[in-house]
């Protein structure tokens, strides 16, 4: 009888709290989005699973000695996992389109307006009772507008670890929603004629330019924005490994096995931050709302910048490609291509959108560095 009593007490049933049940439903929701809706499954599946595990009563996954505790402190608290993912992404990125048309960097810059405007918005939300975002919190939330998962996780782990779960979930969810969020904004800001604009073919970029480019980016970052060098540095290392062509086995491992291993662990660790105390707050609603605003503003800013650029450019510029400046590689570029094809079924904008797309990655890493320097 006593054994049965112990057994009953050692089931989770008498220990469940409402918050844990709700967070498990959130976890299941993320798994649903990942598996059925195929929203960023590589991250949302482990995040959702991590949310399930961390909310199990008595199991202690995220307490001292628990698996997720170790993974979080080794990989996320130190910043190592997002940096390794950034290295892998660097090894996957082709800057050819950007080098061929460097002005698209301005589109990547404009789209970061989503970040800084959202920072302002988050502080403004403090006027609403119940919200009390510090400047650090606001900066970590605003980076969602960068549409870049590892950057968001890295910055949040430095500035607002208690919001990391919500921020990462928002960032990946909105990245998955890019094809829903962006097209209406793109169409509202452009005329059908603008969307039909055909762009000139990109020039061929030499191997040496591609090798020098990451070094130039790193050099510039070192000079003026050392706080951005962890992110930009690892990204450039990955890209240099790829483009140099002399360490293919390292480059392949960085963009395959290593990034896969780290992705599993990073997802679980992020999921472990989805506890009810941290997530079931009014702040999370604010974060989700602000994230959507950030994406929308970034998209709009990119498109408007592209229209301005087009005014002053001798070469034709289709303003749609500005929307790719938010990054969310390569989905935003694909959305641009799709909206462009709707306007003109023979107009393939994909390669032209890749320039602002990868520029957006650099742009948000730079923005993260600025935020770290100014409010970190």
């Amino acid at each position: 009888m006593e054994k049965l009593q112990i057994l009953w007490q050692s089931t989770a049933i008498p220990h469940f709290e409402m918050g844990q049940i709700i967070m498990m439903l959130v976890g299941f929701g993320l798994l649903y989005l990942a598996i059925v809706k195929k929203f960023e499954p590589l991250l949302l599946l482990p995040i959702g699973f991590g949310a399930l595990l961390t909310n199990i009563p008595l199991a202690g996954f995220s307490e001292v000695g628990g698996l997720l505790h170790y993974i979080y402190y080794v990989g996320v608290d130190t910043g190592i996992f997002p940096l390794l993912i950034f290295m892998g992404v660097g090894a996957m990125t082709d800057f050819g389109a950007l080098i061929a048309n460097p002005r698209t960097l301005l589109l990547g810059a404009a789209a970061q307006f989503g970040i800084f405007a959202t920072l302002f918005g988050a502080i403004a939300l403090n006027a609403v009772p119940g919200f009390e975002f510090s400047l650090q919190d606001a900066a970590a939330i605003a980076i969602i507008g960068g549409a870049d998962g590892p950057t968001a996780i890295f910055l949040a782990s430095k500035l607002a670890p208690e919001l990391l779960g919500a921020i990462a979930v928002a960032a990946y969810s909105y990245m998955a929603l890019v094809p829903i969020i962006q097209p209406p904004i793109m169409k509202a800001l452009t005329t059908p004629e603008e969307r039909e604009i055909k762009m000139n073919q990109l020039r061929v970029v030499s191997k040496r330019e591609k090798i020098i480019f990451p070094l130039a980016v790193l050099f510039l970052t070192i000079l003026v924005l050392p706080s951005a060098t962890p992110l930009v540095g690892m990204f450039c290392l990955g890209n240099l490994m790829k483009e140099s062509g002399v360490v293919d086995r390292l480059s392949n491992t960085a963009q395959n096995e290593l990034i896969n291993i780290v992705t599993i662990f990073l997802g679980l660790a992020v999921g472990s931050k989805l506890s009810s105390e941290a997530f079931l707050t009014v702040e999370t609603l604010g974060i989700l709302g602000l994230g959507a605003v950030a994406f929308s503003i970034g998209t709009a800013a990119g498109v408007i910048m592209a229209k301005i650029l087009g005014k002053f450019s001798k070469e034709p510029i289709n303003p749609l490609i500005g929307a790719a400046g938010v990054s969310a590689v390569p989905m935003a570029a694909r959305v641009v291509n799709k909206v462009g094809l709707e306007a003109n079924p023979h107009n393939f904008l994909l390669m032209h959108a890749m320039g602002p797309n990868v520029a957006g990655v650099l742009g948000s890493a730079v923005a993260a560095g600025i935020l770290l320097a100014l409010v970190g």
């Binding site: 049965l4 809706k37 990125t93 998962g149 990109l202 989905m331 393939f348």
Partner: protein, 98 residues
């Protein structure tokens, strides 16, 4: 804590044996029922196969991940784009219209 006598220990082990095996059987029996329920559920709500997947949402879904899906999709995109670029180029090899 003083060591329990052998007979106490054996009683303990015996109760563990009974409780443990019961728990294992109960657990896996419930799982049997669950599996049967899952089968019924899946049969009852057949996958809206072609419907769901043909919606416009599908395209983004397939290429969703930023951090890791990158290369492959990139490549695919690049191939598509190159195909068009090349065919554009071949159509007379005229200089880009300025």
């Amino acid at each position: 804590m003083n060591t329990p006598s052998i007979s106490e220990q054996l009683l303990e082990a015996g109760s563990l044996l009974v409780v443990g095996m019961s728990s294992v059987f109960i657990f896996l029996s419930v799982l049997i029922v669950s599996v049967k329920l899952i089968a019924k559920f899946v049969e009852a709500f057949p996958e809206p196969a072609a419907t769901t997947y043909a919606t416009p949402r599908r395209a983004p879904a397939a290429s969703a991940n930023h951090s890791a899906n990158h290369a492959v999709t990139n490549q695919q995109d690049v191939i598509t784009a190159i195909t068009h670029a090349v065919s554009a180029y071949r159509q007379g090899n005229q200089p880009p219209s300025k």
